[in-house]
Symmetry: C2
Amino acid sequence: MLNGRTPSVKDVAAAAGVSLGTVSNVMNRPEVVSARTRERVERAMSELGFVRNESARQLRAGTSRTLAYVMLDGTNPFFHDVAQGIELAAEDADLSLFICNSNSRATREEVHLDRLLQQRVQGILITPVDPAAPHLDELTRRGVPMVIVDRVRNADSCCSVSVDDVLGGRIGVEHLAELGHERVAFVGGPDSLGQVRERLQGAREVWESLGHDPDNLIYLPTEALTVAEGRSAGERLAGLPARRRPTAAFCANDLLALGLLQQSIGAGLRVPDDLAIVGFDDIEFAAAAAVPLTSVRQPRQELGRAAAQLVLDEATNPNHNHQQLQFQPELVARASTVRRARSL
Amino acid sequence: MLNGRTPSVKDVAAAAGVSLGTVSNVMNRPEVVSARTRERVERAMSELGFVRNESARQLRAGTSRTLAYVMLDGTNPFFHDVAQGIELAAEDADLSLFICNSNSRATREEVHLDRLLQQRVQGILITPVDPAAPHLDELTRRGVPMVIVDRVRNADSCCSVSVDDVLGGRIGVEHLAELGHERVAFVGGPDSLGQVRERLQGAREVWESLGHDPDNLIYLPTEALTVAEGRSAGERLAGLPARRRPTAAFCANDLLALGLLQQSIGAGLRVPDDLAIVGFDDIEFAAAAAVPLTSVRQPRQELGRAAAQLVLDEATNPNHNHQQLQFQPELVARASTVRRARSL
DNA sequence: TTGTAAGCGTTATCAC
DNA sequence: GTGATAACGCTTACAA
């Protein structure tokens, strides 16, 4: 195998007794080369174990075959589902995918973006720590196709894909109201997160529109959207005087809901009898909880898939227009709110 | 900004009024260039928004700055924790990381490996669908540094990082035996998975060594290591005649345990009073379950980190020797086996 | 249909 | 300390 060196087109050409350009043609425009030569070249390739050098290809062609997704929080399965959707779309387009994780840290996000810029990726999908961060503008200024995933950014500066969080908030609380709950907690935070604010807004809107007293929608703020914060919210909830204690909780995401569920059951509450719980996202583990969790479902994979398609359009279509895609969330009712769980 | 084109070293050189080689020196051996010129060059770089083209660098340098991890199952958080460990190590070494997901499909694994070969990644970490697959030999034959993660391969053909699964099996069942359980179920499968076999083996060894009747260690095979299969095992378990019904179950991973927990609680069993449950892996969601799950902990991030270090050694150290690293699992006791849960 | 040659952006080797 | 120059492996005009 050529004394260690990995074979190049030149080696293939020599082995097949053709010129280097012909080998390239076999790879890139096979229709232009005669069946016989093509066959010879292909045999030489497999005999030598030729593998095209993507860096060289990219350098010359000026275009990379790689997409990237910078996810916000690797400990939340939600983002992996989004990533999975992106990967499927990338696969369809015969593209590779870099997956990075900013872990909610702006500095790590910047490091990743910088690296991706160096790699000259074709497009970047990102769930940013802060949608208003200036280093995102930097990308657009550089002309790198970018799509914001599960967040929105000041309109038409770039594409984004998200779900209607206000609607999601409405759906969740409406469900609880329909079940007859008169005092409901909204668990979520920090309210620097636009999504939390919007879900809360939707929750309040529908609560009041149904004629309930605003004071009976109790806001339990959390410091993050994590299981631990869900537990802590549960403790605060248990500490409320009985007269003010909600009979149901709507959580801004499933991790919170899972934590709340755990704390509540540990404290001897029955779910949903003593406390009904609704989550948000509908991650796999929501359905797998001891008491399967009712949740406002986001089309996670679809989000990713759509984002990938948008970024590809921006990368390849000269007439591309930025668009703000918005999906509709939907309720998935399970045992954490309704006594007779539907079968899984 | 140079009429659209992204600036190259040449442009920077022109702007700074130096030669192209000097610019390169500023980036790669700054000590060799005078403070004044360096400053001039650096200003030119930032004014032009220069970003080094990694493809060109890689082509010329002959070495890429990228690692890759091909994970087995994106729906299992275990692998994401491993990936996280790898990413941290990669970050330390200033390397990028490709994360791919074979989804337990050999064909997808091959597609990914092929792409990674084209990218000339510096090393590949992989949890293979089948550790004996010939396309893995192919990689070693090509001289691509490779480390098997959480599996083992026929000894010294390559490095691997794993945990002692036999010991893990022993630990889990020993814990249950110590708690006084006399009939224990082992839930896991398919037994084509070496890990399942080894965990079962460890379980049997310790069970018998403690003087228990082998018949009282009941093997409940599953078709996969998933939540759904855990539920199904729970149903089978409930169907056993009371005299033969185990009072505890040891599951080959946490997803199974979570499924079993859900099914059991849904059926009105109390955990751990009626059924104690032990999982394996200690994923985050084990601790977050309604009844926090006792689990045999694998050092997930450490696994990834160590694997990355091995692959880097293979890539850079000419005296590299393949090694089979094995970590020790440890028990994390929680409420699913012991009545008074320790605080989290 | 095939071959030749220029050039992508970088790094490294050599003179100066 | 700095500046030409060749080379990395590939694609793509263009010439034969």
